[in-house]
Structures are given as structure tokens and as C-alpha cells.
């Protein structure tokens, strides 16, 4: 039986290097990550022991040029995210947060000294970053953030708290976004700074193989040299989110593919009423729908990749693909879970783990609703959220 999961053979359009990067990441996920994921999901931990291998491959900041980064194409970054997330959203999140949310702002908005100081060590996985934008009381409206930075000579004094922060608690460096008298600014804050305290959020039902936390800043003093000089508006952190959302649009395709394959494999090998589950019409229609939706999602992701490579991608393009593909992923995961009966609730199979993860993935980096409203604004010219 042929593997139809890349239904229109879109991967044949990838260049040789992109295919090799895809194969390398896919092999790493299957051989090194998959044997660990169920236990880490159960324990609520991320397999930090894999970070050196992740860094050696060049996954961290892979789409950035120079400063120890691999300088791979946007399409290569996309397919790498797809293969990582086919493993688990926690793994893709780790790579996205480090590369797109922490290294990208330094690369894009940082001074030359900041780039040279931080990026090589972050690419090598020696310094782990976290991205502090979301707050306990401000999720979808970051421009009303309560975190303040007050200039004091050549220093800044930071106060406030950030919540739902991937890698808070294990990060060495926080990229903190704060409101100031001069507008929104970004700061590089070492997590061992006086007055900085991070805590892990316990009891999550989603994205369990990923560390999520919160941090508080009580008169944290940061020198002016640790402010990102070229980040001068709320557009700066939003541009980082666009980078990460791009990866999610691909990652969600990986989730859908893994769930589809898991359900197909299960149903082909499980006889009920004397014949395989997959021989029943109701299940074949489900497979046809899953494959169609997954193909739609993949077409969106690959088209987005082409727009990014030609520098014609717009934030609303990314909103459509992130929103659509996350919805496809969670629906596929839930359908796949149901098609595996009681066995589907075990960590032995991936779909329910993926379904739970997607609750977070369709919420963070812009909820499904917010991305709908970004599209609504583009369609009507009227912003519904202001």
C-alpha cells in the first residue's frame, strides 16, 4: 500500500538540501525523540538531554544567517518544523521559541555586540532563551501590557510579570517586552538577575513535554546595552510571532500526518466483526476526509513557504495558514483518537497526545479567533478588536 500522506507529492518540489534537512530531522525525531516522548509527556518534562544533538544539527536559529546559525532556507525551516511537530508540539515549540522568538529578535533588532555575544551560544544550545510578552491579564491584547521599564540614567528598571512562557524556569536569558515612556521596548534579561524570579506552571493537560512557566520582575535592573536598539514598537514582538507562527503552520501538518498514519496503521491491523476496521465505509470516509484536510493544510504551508522565500508573505497570510492548519491538526487528532477506540487514550499512541497539545498550539501565538479577526480586518478593512 503506497504512502499517500504527501498526496500531491509536494515534497518533490523541495531542493536537494531541503530534502536532506527534512530527512535528517525526521530520522532524529524517530530514532532519538520518539522513544522518550511518552515518558516526558507523562512526567511533564522536556528531554533536555537532546539539546546538544538538536544544536549540533543546526536546528536552533536555523533560518538565520551568520553568528553560528545554519542559514537554511525558509522552506527548510518549515519542513524541519513539520518533522519536529510530527514528533510532538513540545519539541517544535522548543526549537521555535529558541530560534524564532529569542534568537530572531536579537538577530533582527539587536546591536552588533548583542548578536556576537548571544547568538553563537544560543545556536549551540548553551544558552536557552524564553520570550516574555504574554501576561497574566493580557494575552490577545499585548499592547495593553502592564510590564513597565523605567529609564534611570544608562539603566532601566523593570517591573511586571509574564505568564504562559515556554522555557521559563529553564531559560538563561529572557527576551522581555515592556512598556516605557518612550513606547514598547525589548530587553535582554539574564534570568539570574537580582529581582527576577521564574516558576514552572504545574498541572497542564496540554503540551506536557514542554516546560511552561511564569516570571516576575521586581525592580530588575538592566543596562541600556541590554536593550534591543532597533525594537521601537509593538510591531517588533509581533514580527517575532510571525516567524514562529510560520513554523506552526508547517508543524500542524506534521501533527495531522502523524495522527492519520497512526489511525491508518491501527485500523488496517485491527479486525472487528471479522474484517479490518479500515474496511468499513464509515472509516474509509473518515480517512478520505482526513487526507483531504491534511493535503489542504500542506498546500497552505508549502504556498506560505514560497511566499516567504520570495519575501512577499504578509502577516495575514500567516494568520490564515496558522489558523487553518491548527484546526485541521486538532480535528485530525481527535478523529484519529476515536478511530483507535479505547487504545487511543493510551500514551502508546500519539493522536490523543497530539490532540491535547493542539489545544495549546491553537491558543498560543494568536488564538484561532484572533487570527480570524486579523483576516476579518483584511477582508473588511475594519479592525474588530480595537
Amino acid at each position: 500500500m503506497a504512502d499517500l500522506s504527501d498526496f500531491y507529492e509536494l515534497d518533490a518540489l523541495l531542493g536537494d538540501e531541503e530534502q536532506m534537512i527534512r530527512d535528517t530531522v525526521a530520522k532524529f525525531v524517530v530514532n532519538e525523540f520518539m522513544p522518550l516522548v511518552a515518558d516526558h509527556f507523562e512526567a511533564g518534562t522536556f528531554p533536555m538531554e537532546l539539546v546538544p544533538a538538536i544544536a549540533d544539527m543546526g536546528l536552533l536559529g536555523m533560518h538565520l544567517d551568520g553568528y553560528g546559525c545554519a542559514g537554511a532556507s525558509a522552506m527548510a525551516y518549515g519542513v524541519a518544523c513539520r518533522e519536529l511537530e510530527a514528533g510532538d508540539s513540545g519539541l517544535r515549540s522548543f526549537v521555535s521559541v529558541q530560534g524564532s522568538l529569542c534568537m530572531f529578535p536579537i538577530w533582527k533588532y539587536g546591536s552588533e555586540e548583542q548578536k556576537e555575544q548571544w547568538l553563537p551560544q544560543m545556536a549551540a544550545g548553551e544558552i536557552i532563551g524564553c520570550f516574555g510578552l504574554t501576561e497574566p491579564d493580557h494575552g490577545s491584547d499585548p499592547s495593553n501590557m502592564a510590564t513597565r521599564a523605567q529609564r534611570d540614567g544608562d539603566k532601566w528598571i523593570l517591573n511586571g510579570s509574564k505568564r504562559w512562557i515556554t522555557n521559563a524556569g529553564i531559560a538563561d536569558l529572557a527576551i522581555v517586552w515592556a512598556n516605557t515612556d518612550e513606547g514598547f521596548r525589548g530587553f535582554l534579561v539574564p534570568t539570574d538577575s537580582e529581582g527576577f524570579e521564574a516558576r514552572k506552571i504545574q498541572n497542564k493537560l496540554s503540551l506536557r513535554a514542554s516546560v511552561t512557566g511564569e516570571f516576575y520582575m521586581d525592580d530588575v535592573i538592566v543596562p541600556e546595552s541590554m536593550r534591543l536598539p532597533d525594537a521601537v514598537s509593538i510591531g517588533a514582538p509581533l514580527s517575532c510571532l510571525s516567524e514562529a507562527r510560520y513554523g506552526i503552520a508547517f508543524g500542524a501538518v506534521g501533527v495531522a500526518r502523524d495522527c492519520y498514519n497512526a489511525a491508518l496503521d491501527y485500523q488496517q491491523g485491527r479486525p472487528q466483526f471479522g474484517k479490518p476496521l479500515s474496511s468499513f465505509q464509515i472509516n474509509q470516509i473518515k480517512f478520505a476526509d482526513m487526507l483531504t484536510q491534511m493535503t489542504n493544510a500542506n498546500l497552505q504551508a508549502m504556498t506560505l513557504g514560497r511566499l516567504k522565500e520570495t519575501h512577499t508573505v504578509r502577516p495575514y497570510h500567516i494568520s490564515m495558514a496558522k489558523r487553518h492548519n491548527c484546526r485541521v491538526a486538532i480535528d485530525t487528532a481527535r478523529t484519529a483518537r476515536a478511530m483507535m477506540g479505547a487504545n487511543g487514550v493510551s500514551t502508546e499512541y500519539s493522536p490523543m497526545r497530539h490532540a491535547n497539545n493542539m489545544e495549546s498550539v491553537m491558543t498560543y501565538e494568536g488564538t484561532e479567533e484572533i487570527h480570524g479577526l486579523i483576516l476579518g480586518q483584511e477582508i473588511t478593512g475594519i479592525p474588530a478588536f480595537r
Partner: protein
Amino acid sequence: MKVVVCVKQIPDPALPGELDPSTNYLKRDDKLILDESDSYGVEMALQLVESAGGGDVSLVSMAPNGAVGGLRTALAMGAEGAVLVSDAALAGTDALGTAKVLAAAISRMSPDLVLAGVESSDGYTGTVPEMIAGALNIPSITFAKQIQIEGGNVKVQRQTEAGYDDVECPTPALVSVTAGVVEPRYPSFKGIMAAKKKPVEELDLSALGIDSSSVGKNGARQETVQVTDAEERQAGEIIEDDGDAHEKIIEFLGELKVI
């Protein structure tokens, strides 16, 4: 230190393979990939050069159609360059012909050490490495699980059924590397992007001074006369546990001589 690694590019074993009914050879029309059993030789060579503090790892391969996909994987792992012998006349070459061609290519490279996998994952003849050593008139050691270069000698732990033998011989020498004894590295993305720019020298038979009638299907002394399906695996014996199942299992393992 200069190490040459023999690598074979084979059809992806994950895809269903097909035999050409006229030759009984595997069809090789699709994309070829690096034989995984050769990735151990590549890794071993890279480690030897790294621990020697310098040197050069080159690849040598033979393919009838100029395929380089598998070579790029090994180049991405860190090999410096490759020689690919490619000639339409090579189609249907047997193990001895392959060894003659690879030996001719290797002799131009003057290596201190030649590494190869024990056997390929598509043909499984397991004879080519030793025939290359014979053609080059250099010593060979088979089934290496560990290799060290000391002075002008190569010291090898040679895997045996009971454990391993310590053997050594002077260089230049050929050593075949047992699959699974090292962990082949994941190519880095920088390595992948650099691999495209690494030199792959393509040679035909005339460049090697080999008469095309001595290789290929016509020059082959070996012929696959018939192919039959492998016997279907028989159902195993199920032992119901009446309290003595462990004894029956021990007896069974004893018969197999595994305990």
C-alpha cells in the same frame, strides 16, 4: 592521514524494491541513497581523522547512472570529497568487476587506509571489500568493531562470535567495518549546505584504463540464474504455561545454542 571510504548508493530500502526480470538485478532507476551499512565506515573514518588531529576522508563509489544523492549524505557528514565511477557500461557488473573498478579508482587516491562496510544492504555478497584489497595487493582485516592507527600499523578489534580478536597489519590496508559499532552522526545543516560545494570527481572507465568488456553484464563471471521467493515464516510454537514454561523456554534456547 588519508582515509578512503567505499560507499554504495542503493535504492531506498523503505520503498518496495523491484527486480528486473531480464537480469534478476534490483532496479535502480529511482533516487539512490547512502547504504546505511556504509554510514558506519564513514563515521569510523571521520572519528579516526578527528582523533589523529588532521587528515582527509574521501569517498569512492560506483554507479551506472551518475547518481550522487547518497554521496552528498556522506559529504554532509563531513567527508571532504568523492570519486564517482560512472559509466553506462558498468550496468550488470558483478562483485569482482566492482572490486576491480573501485580498486582502480582507489589506487589513484593513495590512501593510508581504506574502509568499507562488511556488506551492502541490497546485494549482500559481502565479498567486494576483500576483493578490492586483493586487487590493490594490500592486507585486509574484516569485521572491525574498533580501529586504531599507531605508527605505520592499523590495529583492529575484529568481531568474532565469541568476542573479538586483536589483529594488526601495516598500512596501507583495507578494513571492513561491522554495522552498528559506531553511531553515525546526523549531518549538520551547515554540512548539508556545504556538501553541495564539495568536489565529486566523476570518472568513466577509460579514465581508469579499464576495458569496458571486462566489466558490466558481459564481463561478469557471476550470474543470477534464478530468483525465488523466500519461504514464508512458519508460525512459532506456543508454550502454554503449566508452571514449567520457563524450563521449556530454557531448553529451547539451549537447542539454539544461544545460552
